[in-house]
Symmetry: C2
Subunit: 692 residues, 2 copies
Amino acid sequence: MIAVALNMAAVSITSPDGNLVLHVELTPQGAPYYTLDYKNKPVVTASALGLKSEQLDLTNGFRIASTDTMSVDRTWEPVWGEYSTIRDNFNEMAVNLIDKDHQREFTIRFRLFNDGLGFRYELPVQKGPNHLTLKDEVTEFNFNGDHKLYCIPGDYDTDEYLWSETTFSKLPEALSNYARHSEAQRVNGTTIQTPMLLKTDDGLYINVHEAALDGYPAMLLDVDTENYSMKSHLVPDRLGVSAYLQMPFNTPWRTLIVSDDARDILASQLVLNLNEPCKIEDTSWIKPMKFVGVWWEMFTGYQKTWAYSDDGLAKPGITDYTKLTPNGRHPANTENVKKYIDFAAKHGIDGVLVEGWNEGWEDWGGYRKNRQFRFDKPYPDFDLPALRDYAKEKGVKLIMHHETAANAADYELQLDSAFRFMKNNNYDAVKTGYVGAIIPRSEHHTSQWMVDHARHVIEKAADYQIMIDSHEAPRPTGLCRTYPNWLAQESARGGEFESMGGNPPSHTCMLPFTRLKGGPMDYTPGLFETKMSYYNEGKDSQAGTTLARQLALYLTMPSPIQMACDLPENYDRFPDAFQFIKDVPVDWADSKYLEAEPNQYITVARLDKNSDDWYVGAITDENARTATIDFSFLPKDGTYTATIYEDAPDAHWKDNPQAYRIRTIKVKPGTKLKQPLAPGGGAAIRIVKNTK
Amino acid sequence: MIAVALNMAAVSITSPDGNLVLHVELTPQGAPYYTLDYKNKPVVTASALGLKSEQLDLTNGFRIASTDTMSVDRTWEPVWGEYSTIRDNFNEMAVNLIDKDHQREFTIRFRLFNDGLGFRYELPVQKGPNHLTLKDEVTEFNFNGDHKLYCIPGDYDTDEYLWSETTFSKLPEALSNYARHSEAQRVNGTTIQTPMLLKTDDGLYINVHEAALDGYPAMLLDVDTENYSMKSHLVPDRLGVSAYLQMPFNTPWRTLIVSDDARDILASQLVLNLNEPCKIEDTSWIKPMKFVGVWWEMFTGYQKTWAYSDDGLAKPGITDYTKLTPNGRHPANTENVKKYIDFAAKHGIDGVLVEGWNEGWEDWGGYRKNRQFRFDKPYPDFDLPALRDYAKEKGVKLIMHHETAANAADYELQLDSAFRFMKNNNYDAVKTGYVGAIIPRSEHHTSQWMVDHARHVIEKAADYQIMIDSHEAPRPTGLCRTYPNWLAQESARGGEFESMGGNPPSHTCMLPFTRLKGGPMDYTPGLFETKMSYYNEGKDSQAGTTLARQLALYLTMPSPIQMACDLPENYDRFPDAFQFIKDVPVDWADSKYLEAEPNQYITVARLDKNSDDWYVGAITDENARTATIDFSFLPKDGTYTATIYEDAPDAHWKDNPQAYRIRTIKVKPGTKLKQPLAPGGGAAIRIVKNTK
């Protein structure tokens, strides 16, 4: 069928539409490599494949023993997401390699989709050693030009960086501009992280990432800026080991999403397709949601704190927290949380997140301490039973918060009791956090042990029917397909930074091309008061956004769990704009990417999963822009009313961010709307079918 | 009172009996040091005190701000042990040190007992940093001669070594003779472990150890063989950090047990006295016990295995163990365990330990794997419900086994469910194991994190009313006083080595002077068949013991949990000797050390806690010896019958180990018995008061 055996040492397959051609060959030394062409032009030039371990070298000395090929065209239905049905259509080739003495063997499995390539290493039981101490993965992604790169610096511990738009040759300069995070392990040289995006002079877009990261460390990319080449750089533990593997083992998939239309990169479901189907039998308890939270108060200039007391280091070793002196600036108190519950109930918001509810924040920064946080001990001013009952009465769900201070070992220790405590108190979802240097101290945020940890947490959560929104965890690789209770992750520079220097408007024009390919992000949109000076004259941070753009983010940053991040009082100042946040769904039947260019603009239309309403979001970078919204996605059989939340003509992210207008127009499938967007602005549209 | 302020920079105290004098002084640079005299002769010469951290230097620049002194004379009653009442009698001096700028302050608390010294560092809240990254403890133990040393090599991961009897000057040669354990981290140079013993030419005995090791790494000793000096060497983690401390913090006590009578070293309760009182309110569930077990079968030449299957590495990744091929050499099977239960029930033995009952042993040696053992999954041939019910019906307790393969992180993760599983199945005690290289990989067996781990396990066990017998855990420092559910530990070369080269007779003449000062050892005495060639001609290991000596070990190696380690079939061969094991108690009202010399001999008499019966145990090294047993410990008001289990005249540990005699004699308080002991032999005596 598809595979064409060129000779004993070379095989090929094409994508179902014939645009992509994958070629696999061995060097005279028996080292496997691959190439990838798109529409008859090289995308990836000859690039090495293989793994090196202390026990076995799986990089050369092989021959192709056989190849297994198949074609698959199937669909599946995610529990939530951008589409109600996803097509999984690929041609597959498994290249089985064996050495001369039949002592070493492994398979490289390739899946070629219309929108890109995935491949992984499959290590069967060996005649020789079956426990491998992995030292290196030699996988290369070699290119043939000084392409544009959209990327963030290599780091073993954090991905909370702004994006560079650079080229191979200018990468060193771009990376030199980044500040170092204090507790994170930046990688020297020209190492970058995935997901990253390339753009060729020919206008070809290439996203490089991985899928189904499980039992293996995350992959960074060492960039050879002279040869336009990238090589896998596995995150090691602090002993210098990449992974401890037991045969049989399959690595994650290495993924390349390829298209000459930027919209295809956004629409691609390749990473999800390469993940295992849902492992949770009954998913009825997994519910997409919107929430408000006791959270942004701590980021504003109000000087509010997660900690109940300022005694902190002055009175360490405290075990009876009622003996601490309250600092009076602790928003996670009963009265204040009730206000949030009232607000959520009034506006039909599903949940209320409360950070700073539990003992331990006085030791914040004391990450050297083994036992810091307790996940079953509310602060004295947080009357959990009363709030639990109050929330229930109001039909609102409290959302739990587990900040581990990066002590993942301690979290594993407490996990069962913490989840039991949640269920006993009517919590169904938890935001987890891993701020600081990891304990076990042998580990980084993205080393193998932490990847194992993340899977353990999500599996255990599923046992308890708990949904997870994880922050500072290994960046997503589509595992939310397998564990759809993993609603979202942070794993990028999120909305919190609007209070710490701000995110430029282009930032959210970049994330959907990169970070979001692994899964949804808890970006926390909905910021109506964008200037921190509003709270405190001394605080000059300003968000890189207009108010209207914040509404559009609910469309351009799709997630089954979306925060309305601002304070209730700010929503009360702009109730007509807040109406959009109340209306906008978090789960979709279909999505149409109308316009897209990385780092510049995105326009997307989505169909609500639970109604016939369509929504459109459009954003631009720091430049004003006129989006063209072609309503041909609308069903032919009707006329529609579109309510447009847009930047006012004089709006500007910096000088006039809160200038917005709301207007209503009639649209039909033929309509092409020229929609102006302010610098750093955006537009959000709700489209309702007119009743006859 | 006791403290005599010599000048602004020097203070002293004496022991209650006046024999010991402690002197503390500062150098002109403000560096604290101490000396210790015994009967007007120097024991410890000027020795440094202090701690070094990244944030604060607590070694010099200090003055004595004040001293607090007190005298204490009190008694307490241990839940179990060698004595029903223990006297805690000391003079205390807390030396409060402060620097010129009042930025650094700490206290060194000294407790001077008649039998030795304990001191610790107490770090209060500092004006400056309150989280310290400890790099070094400079505590010295300096001596004034080329004393005899009894010690084992420094190692971060194991203490399972034979003892060297050497001197400072000959230490390098002695240490060069030790083989390295494959996965353990031996310390190069002349580093040794505590507890260790010194003997001076004057006949003074000095035991160096520590008490109440909690939240801190274990202390090794760097020996300066030219200057007869020893310095604290804290076990670091693999990042090179000794400890992560938060103020306030108290270090463990550094201990010196001192006497010119070797018997006082054995009788000393100094380490226990320096530990915190029992933290468990209701201790009624803590029950000393004897047990047999499915264990020794795996050490003999029978080739039996902990694993259910030999598929092992050939079929890794198996999750359904019923699909493995049974190897037929798996003693932890229902039928065999029933035989052990029958044997225990017949002979009044309290418990039956079963090793190899749970899934995971096929991966043995695969310590690189994160998740290996499951503590709630019996093997297919181990019918746990049936055995649970059978044991209950027979009045026997099954003892759980948790081999973690040194994956302490994974054990913490499973701990709650593992303990719940135990209680649901009527288990009250567990033998834990940590064989291999520790996970978290940042840690050693005795680094701070593992010390924390051990305390967490014992506390959690107490919550579940579970007793612990821990193997390969940080060596004991008297914490069994605080947590008396910590019945015993291994933490030394135990009886298992009799099948792997053998332990020389002197080994058990050394352990009570060293290892046992921290707490009881699960040494597993009771070996009747001492030659492994009995099982398999090809196996030539032989235990360094006569049969009679094995009975004496129940007295000389006191423990609230004692195994009768041999196979039931071997006890059936010598039922009259086995009678002593059936009779001997494991908990004592009083103990009298009658004769003692390290590495040579020990004779001890003990009074049963639950009757008026006395027991005597006497052992010798590889030389024959005549023990003198002075029965003046017996109450004056009666006559007694002593049943003596002794070596036959031609007995010899190597050539004729099973030659024993049992005789009965009348004794009274005046009796002085000359009791011959064979080379490598011993004698065990039960003394019952005659009824009128």
